[in-house]
Amino acid sequence: MPVRVQTGDFDIGREIAALRAANPKVGAVASFIGTVRDVNDGDAVSALTLEHYPGMTEQALEGIVAAARLRWRIIDATVIHRVGELKPLDQIVLVVIVGEHRGDAFAACEFIMDYLKTRAPFWKKEQTPQGGRWVEARTSDDTAAERWARPEQDAA
């Protein structure tokens, strides 16, 4: 399963090993882990609750991985996103790409994260000293995703 949404933690070592699976064609492994910070917009954050849309979220992530595969030469990918209650220092999201060479592996990894942040249905609510608040979408994330747009063949 290249895409997983789960409440439990993940182990990057195990995920990389599973993706490489003794495949001697793999020459590059690129990965990204997003983690919970204890501060956001100047306020202390004591906890984060992540909500998703079961079914659509998995489908959106699979679509993003499929788009990356069409665009870059990669061998395989794993995307894991946690939901439920998380604390500062916890891991939130993992993307691992295995490919033949680093250029495509790096690019596919960054593309998947940029698209995940703007297109996959997840929502964060953070606990601050003032109470709970839903995190607002950032225009900088839209800008990051738009970098990848290719007008001649981008289909939404």
């Binding site: 997003g34 992540l50 909500e51 998703h52 849309y53 079914g55 659509m56 489908q59 996103h81 939130i92 999201v93 994260m113 995940l116 942040k117 703007t118 297109r119 996959a120 249905p121 997840f122 929502w123 964060k124 609510k125 839903w134 995190v135 607002e136 979408a137 994330d141 939404a156």
Partner: protein, 84 residues
């Protein structure tokens, strides 16, 4: 009937995560459903207000105001996403 889902802040503001809605004959698009729900009262008017950042999915695919809605569809309203 259509199944309507609400997520995140919208779910909290409306006090509802999911419901079955009987569609009047003239409600055949996302825009019409939004207007129909807004007519329920102040909380709905505010939560679904035009100009407010709102995303819609029909049968788990991103939709726009003109997307058609038919009986049996699953329609979801939610704020811009903030995962990762």
């Amino acid at each position: 009937m259509v199944k309507v889902l609400y997520f995140a802040k919208l779910r909290e503001d409306l006090g509802k995560a999911a419901e079955e809605v009987a569609l009047p004959g003239d409600v055949t698009t996302v825009a019409a459903l939004r207007a129909y729900l807004m007519a329920r009262g102040a909380a709905w008017q505010t939560a679904l207000a035009q100009g407010r950042a709102l995303r819609v999915a029909v049968n788990q695919h991103v939709a726009d105001p003109a997307t058609p809605i038919r009986a049996g569809d699953e329609v979801a309203f939610f704020p811009p996403v903030t995962g990762g």
